[in-house]
């Protein structure tokens, strides 16, 4: 490890937050009168320690309700902590929610003024910065119309443009950028890079793994209010994906020493007949029962995450309940939008259809090379009759994640295993 750094911008030590939720307002009075607690307590943060150095961009990952926003609010100072300390050095600006502190009935221009003053600018400073803010937000045409008439994306643009105009030393961003269109997001990230080059420290919450891996130096996973992992953005991002899609490692979140990254093999179910984990709808006439389906790596271990270009195998098994003539069977890979990207059946692969008797088992394996690009994919499995009627079909029975090659568009669907060369030719 490197020597301890001294240029700390933000330090949280042993930070805890317990919300006291009063089910009825009268419970507050009852508590005041009797001195006995009448509140339901919910621990949002538990012993969170985090050091962020100057000029660093740190991403915060975590499932819904993991305590991300609570942490940012405490850092920004809008929420009080229950225990622990927060130390910040420099001017801090937070974009916590959309249209933060903006008044819906005021025009965009008035809101810039009010927002600027709220952040401690003088009227002269605000006047000087109003035009650049309007330019950055690209809202000049509507800047004198009430804020409430803006679309969500426009509100986000104005919020962001105003918030970063103060040249903060520490910028805290809570998913506010997600609503802007791609072009505006790009410009925001350009501006964030600019701020960072100037030594600004940035704390960023995002659900988008690509954002985290591209913009953050380090990342943190919060799970149930605790720090599950801290490390380089790439390491932590892949750990987060495992956390998201594997019930087993999610349970490990509450483990006493959670900081060590779980190895991929730990996630193997061990059973030869993996139970449907992420299954959606399941239907069919019941003539056959799908008894198992899984994705295996080269060594035959069940996996849910793989590199693009990795060899893998889909395997599914079924048992006949009744006699079925001319069984058809297959699987299909869909993306998040439900578009089928790949699929195969015995019909499409010109395999003869077999007749099976009750109690007989069928195993289908398909070896393939995963040339899909980075993303999350879902697999349908199905058995049916020759006439197309289904005997057992499971929608999105399997979910898997592909790590993309880092060198192609993040929006790419497939990995074409390309190289890229530039040759200069003299005239």
């Amino acid at each position: 490890m490197t020597a301890p750094r001294t240029d700390i911008a933000l330090r949280c030590a042993g930070l805890s937050k317990t919300f006291r939720i009063y089910l009825r307002p009268s419970d507050i009075l009852r508590e005041l009168a009797t001195g006995r607690p009448h509140a339901v307590e919910r621990q949002a943060l538990a012993d969170v320690s985090l050091d962020v150095y100057r000029g660093e961009v740190v991403g915060i990952l975590g499932r819904n309700g993991a305590g991300k926003s609570t942490l940012l609010k405490i850092v920004a100072g809008t929420l009080d902590r229950t225990a622990g300390t927060v130390e910040t050095h420099g001017r801090i600006t937070a974009i916590l929610e959309l249209g933060t502190g903006f008044h819906p009935d005021y025009s965009g221009r008035e809101n810039i003024k009010l927002g600027g003053l709220c952040m401690g600018m003088t009227p002269a400073e605000v006047a000087r910065k109003t035009d650049p803010i309007i330019d950055f937000s690209e809202l000049r045409d509507v800047i004198d119309q009430p804020f409430r008439t803006y679309s969500t994306g426009m509100q986000a643009r104005l919020t962001f443009a105003t918030a970063i105009s103060v040249d903060p030393d520490i910028l805290v961003v809570d998913e506010a950028l997600a609503v802007g269109d791609a072009r505006f997001q790009m410009r925001c990230f350009a501006r964030i890079s600019e701020l960072r080059a100037r030594g600004c420290t940035i704390l960023l919450v995002s659900h988008d793994i690509n954002t985290i891996t591209q913009f953050c130096d380090r990342a943190v996973i919060l799970e149930r209010g605790r720090v599950l992992a801290i490390g380089t953005a790439k390491e932590v991002a892949s750990q987060y994906l495992r956390l998201l899609f594997e019930p087993k490692s999610a349970a490990a979140a509450a483990a006493p020493s959670p900081a060590s990254p779980a190895s991929p093999t730990e996630t193997a179910s061990g059973s030869s007949e993996p139970a449907p984990a992420t299954a959606g709808a399941r239907f069919g006439d019941g003539a056959m029962t799908l008894t198992g389906y899984e994705l295996l790596d080269e060594d035959g271990r069940p996996i849910q995450m793989l590199r693009t270009g990795q060899r893998c195998r889909f395997r599914m098994t079924a048992t006949a309940v009744r006699a079925v003539e001319a069984v058809s069977c297959g699987f299909a890979i869909k993306n998040r939008l439900g578009t089928v990207l790949f699929g195969m059946t015995n019909v499409s692969s010109n395999q003869p259809m077999t007749d099976i008797a009750p109690g007989e088992r069928l195993e289908i394996t398909s070896d393939l090379v995963m040339w899909l690009s980075a993303g999350d994919y879902f697999v349908n499995f199905g058995f049916g009759h020759a006439n197309g009627e289904l005997s057992d079909f499971i929608d999105s029975g399997l979910h898997f994640t592909v790590h993309g090659p880092g060198d192609i568009f993040t929006t790419a669907v497939v990995n074409l295993q390309a190289t890229y060369r530039i040759a200069r030719q003299l005239p």
Binding site: F19, R20, P25, I28, L29, K73, A76, G77, T78, L79, D80, I92, T93, A94, L96, E97, T100, G101, F102, H103, D105, Y106, K113, L114, L117, C118, M119, G120, T122, P123
Partner: protein, 280 residues
């Protein structure tokens, strides 16, 4: 620390007031902007807009003058015979009370009504009750200008009018203290608003505004003396009606009371403000 000790903890009040002044100085631009908007928002969407800030109190005063001059006959007051004097007497006490009443009613929701500011941005919440008080002042200032004119017209003008700024400062201090306390408690107990509204309706009659203390049965008079708001009324009447300090005790009570209220209110607010985020 007992309540009694806190009450007379003068150094504590002084340091609280000092930090308050520092805060108001740091955020003076924002404060002015917020107060201006507070006034403007009340008439947002109105055809006459900000004109109502002046027109509203003048119309109101005009109506009061009409009622007190022609509808209520003047009887049994200290300046008998001249009905306009009754008007000055009543307005002298009524104007500060109307302003105070507005502060009381509006400060209970100063925090809860601005949840977006409290929750979402790094914002000095202390400004919210201050802004509420500042936003209530223009009405009183316009009405007072009207009253000064009326007092001069009816020959009740005196050098005592010069004491008005002193009264105003004390009144603002008291209003700030009350606004801090009510806005902080109002964040936790929302029923406070209803209680305050009822209190305001009753309290109008528990002060010597619409009548002279002498008109009250002797047994009820201690109520006037125990009501802190009465002293503001007497002091204002000294300035606009009696033209001399005829209620020295009230001047002392108002001065001490206003400063203690400010100190206590602000300290209560500071003690509770960390928990606002949890409640909204």
């Amino acid at each position: 620390m007992t309540v009694g000790r806190t009450l007379i903890d003068v150094p504590g009040h002084v340091s609280a007031s000092r930090s308050l002044v520092r805060l108001a100085r740091t955020y003076r631009y924002l404060l002015v902007e917020l107060a201006v908007r507070d006034v403007r928002d009340r008439f947002a969407g109105h055809v006459l807009g900000v004109v109502w800030t002046i027109a509203h109190p003048i119309l109101l005063m005009g109506i009061y003058v009409g009622i007190f001059t022609f509808v209520f006959p003047a009887r049994g007051l200290t300046a008998p015979g001249r009905t306009q004097d009754l008007t000055v007497y009543i307005l002298a006490g009524l104007i500060p009370w109307l302003c105070f009443q507005e502060v009381l009613a509006r400060s209970t929701t100063a925090i809860t009504g601005n949840a977006s500011l409290v929750k979402q941005i790094v914002f000095p919440v202390e400004l919210l009750p201050i802004k509420t008080v500042l936003g209530c002042l223009p009405t009183q200032l316009v009405a007072t200008a009207f009253l000064v004119g009326l007092a001069l017209l009816t020959g009740l003008g005196s050098p005592a009018l010069l004491l008005f700024p002193v009264v105003l400062v004390l009144q603002v201090a008291a209003m700030l203290g009350v606004a801090f306390a009510l806005s902080a408690v109002g964040a936790f107990v929302r029923d406070l608003r209803e209680l305050v509204v009822v209190f305001c309706a009753v309290n109008l009659f528990l002060q010597p505004i619409l009548y002279a203390p002498a008109q009250l049965p002797r047994v009820l008079r201690p109520v006037l003396w125990l009501n802190p708001f009465s002293h503001l009324v007497w002091v204002a009447q000294d300035v606009f009606f009696f033209g001399a300090i005829t209620h020295p005790v009230s001047w002392v009570v108002l001065t001490v009371g206003a400063l203690v209220t400010l100190g206590l209110g602000y300290r209560l607010f500071r003690g509770l403000k960390h928990r606002f985020g949890d409640m909204l």
